[in-house]
């Protein structure tokens, strides 16, 4: 009896075991190839691109580590993260790196690990060292850590992008950028490893004016690799496409800026800017996915506006009276007060800020929507009008999306910059300033003054043609030179005929562009403003009265008021 129950129990266990094997099989079944997708886990592995695509990629060290953790991989990784942090607090850098190495072995397909810890090494740990060479070493190790991540995750464009970002931004923007860039250019061991990674550091694409690899250009090659990857059909994850694509073109600009800062101010710089311009325009003509269901090209805004205008013209012709009738109807729907603002604006009267804001809304409201006009149109043309209205709506949506995306990254500013900088005269102006600074530093005052004045003449011309450059670093650097020029001529007051008088007026005491001037330039259609129209003093936006940069604490308090006024308007 007893034996029988024991036997029965064993049979039950066996049945349960077998029953549990069925879902396990269904979940874990590997792909049989030829259209057999395999089990759910196989499918998910493929979906998230975490399957080792060929045997060469399987790292025995990684697999052993995973096995040795006996299914407690998550726990082991968590403990290691804790350890890594502890080592960081103790400034045990070597052990920190060893711990990171082991985390990466345990979780080679968790791309955030690579990203986070590479950043940790290159940005947080490197800054703990006093010797800039050690700092560079840490930056390099962080970047190479990331590179290992790229190799383990062939389908993670963001990791590739990030590597390119590190090579450019970390080496080229840090406080120690001069030293870092020099060390990078001479780091032959790294160059060799990069060649092994199939990054052509020996090609003209990667070499700077001195014939050595330049960090910005090498970064750009990495970014290009990411773009190729995405072009081959891999999806961009955890990043906006705009941001993803912008960087590559930007790195060429950064490169040109960097070599100019280092004193390369001849046709090589000009050439670098020309290439930068090509890249930027190339970026502008790349199809960029948006949050809307269509893609856009940043450089096509004018073309889109032209098309909208063209269609609109056609539409108005087609619909004839219906358009005017609709506009009249909308005008009548305005309140007394609103109509008065509109009239005053049409007569060219000065409006208050609040009224100007209202005016924009009013103008929008009296613009007849093509859809509603089309519905009112003559039945003979109604169908065509409706179709045309649809086209206009679609084009307008594209144009407005393009415009918004351009705004996000200040597209037109960079375009203008590359255009201005590739000119021979800009490079010459920069060289003159550079030489003037050098002469000034060597106490050759007269020579410096002469060079300064010559440079300022050219800069005045450049600003005349490209007023938007005033708001850039260019402006700030130039203003510093003007300050030194003031010291050189030993006079607080600038001469009456000083070519950059207007520019100087736009700058504040801190050597930055005045916020009101900045705003005015951005608002002006061609970027030109009359500096004399600015008040003598920069409006104080830090005061509690608030303003465009009214400080975050003030803004918080004003939230209810803002809502009310918004509702009223």
């Amino acid at each position: 009896m007893n034996r029988q129950t024991a036997f029965g129990r064993k049979i039950v266990y066996l049945v349960v075991l077998v029953a549990m094997l069925v879902p396990l099989f269904l979940l874990g079944q590997p792909s049989g190839g030829e259209g057999d997708p395999g089990g759910r886990l196989t499918e998910m592995r493929r979906e998230f691109n975490i399957a080792e695509s060929d045997l060469g990629e399987i790292s025995p060290a990684s697999e052993t580590a995973k096995l040795a953790s006996l299914g407690l991989r998550g726990v082991a990784a968590t403990l290691l993260w804790n350890k890594a942090h502890e080592y960081k607090v103790r400034h045990e850098w070597d052990r920190l790196k060893a711990a990171l190495n082991n985390i990466a072995l345990l979780q080679p397909h968790f791309d955030k690990v690579w990203e986070h810890q590479a950043w940790n090494l290159a940005y947080n740990v490197s800054s703990e060292f006093d010797d800039y060479r050690q700092r560079y070493e840490m930056v390099r190790e962080g970047t190479e850590f990331l590179q290992r991540g790229v190799n383990q995750n062939r389908n993670a464009p963001r990791l590739v992008w990030y590597t390119g970002w590190f090579y450019g931004q970390k080496i080229g923007v840090a406080d120690e950028k001069t030293q870092f860039r020099r060390l990078f250019a001479d780091d032959e061991a790294l160059h060799e490893r990069l060649l092994e990674e199939r990054i052509a550091v020996d090609s003209p694409e990667a070499r700077g004016p001195l014939g050595k690899p330049d960090n910005w250009l090498v970064g750009r090659l990495w970014l290009n690799r990411g773009y190729d990857l995405v072009d081959s059909g891999v999806k961009i994850r955890r990043q906006t496409p705009l941001n993803f694509y912008e960087t590559g073109a930007k790195w060429r600009i950064r490169h040109a800026e960097a070599i100019e800062r280092e004193g390369v101010l001849d046709e090589r710089a000009q050439n670098a800017w020309q290439l930068a311009r090509e890249d930027w325009i190339g970026f502008g003509n790349r199809s960029i996915p948006t949050t809307a269901p269509f893609t856009i090209k940043l450089d096509q805004l004018d073309e889109l506006s032209r098309q909208v205008d063209e269609r609109m013209e056609e539409f108005r012709e087609l619909t004839g009276d219906a358009y005017e009738v609709e506009r009249e109807r909308l005008l009548e729907s305005l309140s007394e007060e609103e109509r008065e603002i509109l009239e005053r604006a049409d007569e060219g009267e000065q409006l208050t800020d609040d009224e100007s804001y209202q005016l924009q809304g009013i103008r929008r409201r009296i613009q007849p929507a093509p859809d509603s006009v089309a519905r009112q149109a003559d039945p003979d043309v109604r169908l065509r009008a409706i179709r045309l209205a649809g086209e206009i709506r679609d084009l307008a949506a594209r144009a407005s999306k393009t415009d918004a995306y351009r705004e996000q990254i200040n597209y037109s500013y960079w375009r203008t910059l590359t255009e201005a900088e590739q000119e021979e005269r800009t490079v010459r102006a920069r060289r003159l300033v550079y030489e003037a600074e050098k002469a000034n530093a060597e106490a050759e005052i007269d020579k410096a003054i002469g060079l300064y004045e010559e440079a300022f003449e050219i800069w005045a011309e450049i600003f005349e043609d490209f007023p938007i450059l005033v708001i850039d670093d260019t402006g700030e650097d130039l203003y510093e030179s003007i300050q030194r020029y003031r010291v050189a001529i030993d006079s607080e007051e600038l001469p009456e005929d000083f070519p950059l008088r207007g520019f100087v007026k736009m700058m504040n005491d801190e050597g930055r562009i005045r916020s009101d001037a900045h705003q005015a330039i951005l608002n002006s259609p061609d970027g030109r403003i009359d500096p004399d129209s600015l008040p003598d003093e920069e409006p104080d936006y830090d005061s509690p009265a608030g303003g465009p940069e009214g400080g975050s604490d003030g803004a918080k308090l004003e939230v209810p008021d803002f809502r009310e006024s918004n509702g009223g308007g």
């Binding site: 790196k97 006093d130 030293q179």
Partner: protein, 629 residues
């Protein structure tokens, strides 16, 4: 390696803690012994009373104590202990424990996969890897072999054949302990040898060729080696054809130039060391030159550790907070300084000048000159008289040990007079004291120092001997775990005894966490609370440092229960051996420091104490089983 206050204690200071007797190891040991005896007698009496009634129970306990003192202890014979130890040894071998050595060797063979080849200090990585691997393997092994033996004997009733022989329980316990220690020792020796080979061979490399050699005048040549194992050296060869490379990754090579003009690069030198440090007392001066307890804190994140060194005074609530030495910083361009006072500075100890090792940290408050590192200065000073040398300026080599030798003669001032000072005659006192004053030269920047950052180096030991000492520490830990294992196995079944021993080991390892939790409960700081509060917080997804967001009564119940649990854990953890400290011995060997004799002596004393305790407890439990049988 930043040493903590307790690391500097001499053996006597550790044992007796002059001026702070509550923290002394002696007191802790005595209290533990008394507690165990009192508790043991009480529990023994209760068990006996249940078995035989109150009166008879008392006699049973008394008999057991009498037996121990009158017959069993004096009657213990080495011959029989030896015989039993051999049995235990054979039994363990028969259970194929030698397999662990194989496991260790396999581990070493695979280690290359996990050791970072780009490490800045491969020696440290290798040594600490072999030592920790050995440590954990041996502890696990000790756990297994010691806990299953007696329960298996009892279960198979072979124990009766032993106890009916003229063998005393003391001998059974001692025999087991010694036998297992013998097995462990037998395994430690080959593991130690394998580790030594692994480290020395793993670090051995040569650079085959030189590149870019150029003459720098006087027949001296400067050049670079090739790029091997992620590094290259630069070197200078003197006119006599010999020279050294610079130190990269903790080692350098001898470069010789043959007559045919070929360069030969020798094996790495200086990677494996055992420096014998002579530490001094440190005194900080603030920016106006006033003495200060500590230097400036530049706001580095800190770990909360070092509760354990407070001994019993922490348990009874006298000591406050964690005790951890961190770097104290001095401001540059002011009167701020750190003054190290060294003892026993005599020409006999330092016949070839005084070697001083400096490892200090730099902190920039502003960017300063990026190309050059922060600079500090060393001034040698007579502790009592107004005699001091001119400052020796040096550039800080952060996270590295800057090895210098103090010159035997140096320019300086004696009162108002400027002259050449003799190190031993003018700057060292008659009783052999010397002061080193370290300042930061760059204005507005900071240099960080701790007591262990600057030391004199009267000599070095061989690396092999140092590794042996580190293995000695592992041996002590193993002995301790075996003693605990045997103790638990006298009254628990095998698996349970193993779990109990493992819990003791783990609790010993996480004692600092328990102390930390208790400290925060005592101080009323919200830091996650005890176990129940932590679970509540996890379930509610609350942060650690917020106030516990439950109603008042629930909160009080949770906190009271938690306090009970944490206090009990605290008491148990305090009673257990401080294993992390012992594992930390590896750190000395890895960082290239001679393992202090005092440290080993302390560990040995603690081990002996715990073994004795375990022996006594084991004896009584075995005795009670015998009585039961």
């Amino acid at each position: 390696m930043t040493l903590q206050p307790e690391d500097f204690w001499s053996y006597y200071e550790w044992l007796m803690r002059p001026n702070a007797f509550m923290e002394s190891a002696f007191l802790q040991g005595v209290v533990l012994f008394v507690l165990v005896i009192v508790l043991g007698l009480m529990i023994g009496y209760i068990i006996s009373a249940v078995r035989y009634g109150p009166g008879e129970g008392f006699y049973a306990v008394a008999r057991a104590v009498r037996d121990l003192v009158r017959t069993d202890l004096p009657g213990t014979r080495v011959r029989r202990v030896w015989a039993l130890a051999r049995l235990a040894f054979k039994e363990a071998i028969r259970r194929r424990v030698l397999f662990v050595i194989g496991l260790f060797v396999v581990g070493l063979m695979l280690a290359g996969w996990y050791l970072n080849p780009q490490s800045d200090d491969p020696a440290r990585l290798y040594i600490s890897f072999v030592l920790t691997a050995t440590n954990y393997l041996i502890l696990a092994l000790a756990l297994f072999i010691s806990t299953f033996s007696i329960p298996a004997d009892i279960k198979s009733r072979t124990i009766y054949t032993i106890v009916t022989k003229p063998v005393r329980p003391t001998e059974i316990v001692l025999g087991r302990m010694l036998g297992f220690v013998g097995v462990g020792t037998m395994m430690l020796v080959p593991m130690g040898l394998a580790s030594y080979l692994f480290v020395t061979r793993g670090l051995r490399h040569t650079h085959v060729e030189v590149v870019e050699v150029e003459e720098v005048g006087d027949g001296r040549l400067q050049g670079e080696t090739d790029y091997t194992r992620s590094h290259r050296h630069s070197f200078t060869v003197e006119a006599d054809g010999r020279g050294y490379t610079d130190v990269v990754r903790g080692h350098r090579h001898l470069v010789t130039r043959g007559d045919d003009g070929d360069f030969e690069i020798g094996p790495p030198v200086g990677a494996l060391r055992a420096r014998i440090p002579e530490y001094g007392e440190i005194q900080f001066l603030d920016r106006s030159g006033e003495p200060k307890e500590e230097g400036i804190d530049v706001g580095n994140e800190q770990l909360r550790e070092g509760y354990g060194s407070a001994g019993l005074s922490r348990l009874v609530g006298v000591a406050e907070g964690p005790r951890r030495l961190t770097h104290g910083y001095v401001e540059g361009g002011t009167l701020a300084a750190a003054i190290y006072t060294f003892d026993q500075v005599t020409p006999q100890r330092y016949p070839d000048g005084i070697p001083v090792d400096i490892s200090i940290r730099a902190y920039r408050a502003h960017k300063g000159d990026i190309e050059s590192g922060l600079r500090g200065s060393i001034t040698l000073k007579h502790p009592d008289r107004d005699v001091e040398s001119n400052p020796i300026v040096f550039e800080v080599n952060e996270y590295d040990i800057d090895e210098r030798t103090l010159p035997p003669e140096i320019e300086g001032t004696d009162g108002d007079e400027t002259r050449v000072l003799s190190l031993f005659d003018d700057l060292v006192t008659e009783d052999g004291r010397l002061q080193l004053v370290i300042r930061c030269v760059d204005r507005g920047q900071y240099l960080g120092m701790t007591k262990s950052g600057v030391y004199l180096k009267p000599g070095e030991n061989s690396f092999g001997w140092n590794l042996t000492k580190a293995y000695g520490s592992i041996w002590l830990q193993m002995t301790m775990v075996i003693a605990f294992g045997v103790m638990f196995s006298t009254f628990l079944s095998g698996p349970v005894a193993m779990v109990a021993t493992a819990v003791c080991v783990l609790l010993g390892f996480s004692a600092e966490r328990v102390y930390d939790t208790r400290y925060h409960i005592d101080a009323g700081i919200d830091m996650g609370g005890g176990p129940i509060e932590s679970i509540v917080r996890i379930l509610r997804q609350d942060a650690m440092t917020t106030q516990l967001d439950v109603d008042t009564i629930a909160s009080r119940v949770i906190k009271t229960a938690d306090a009970g649990i944490v206090y009990a854990l605290d008491a148990v953890a305090t009673a257990l051996p401080n294993l992390p400290k012992m594992v930390g011995t590896a750190e000395y060997a890895a960082s290239g420091f001679d393992v202090f004799g005092a440290l080993l002596a302390r560990h040995a004393t603690a081990t002996l104490g715990y073994c004795l305790l375990a022996f006594l407890v084991s004896y009584f439990f075995l005795k009670s089983r015998e009585i039961a049988a």
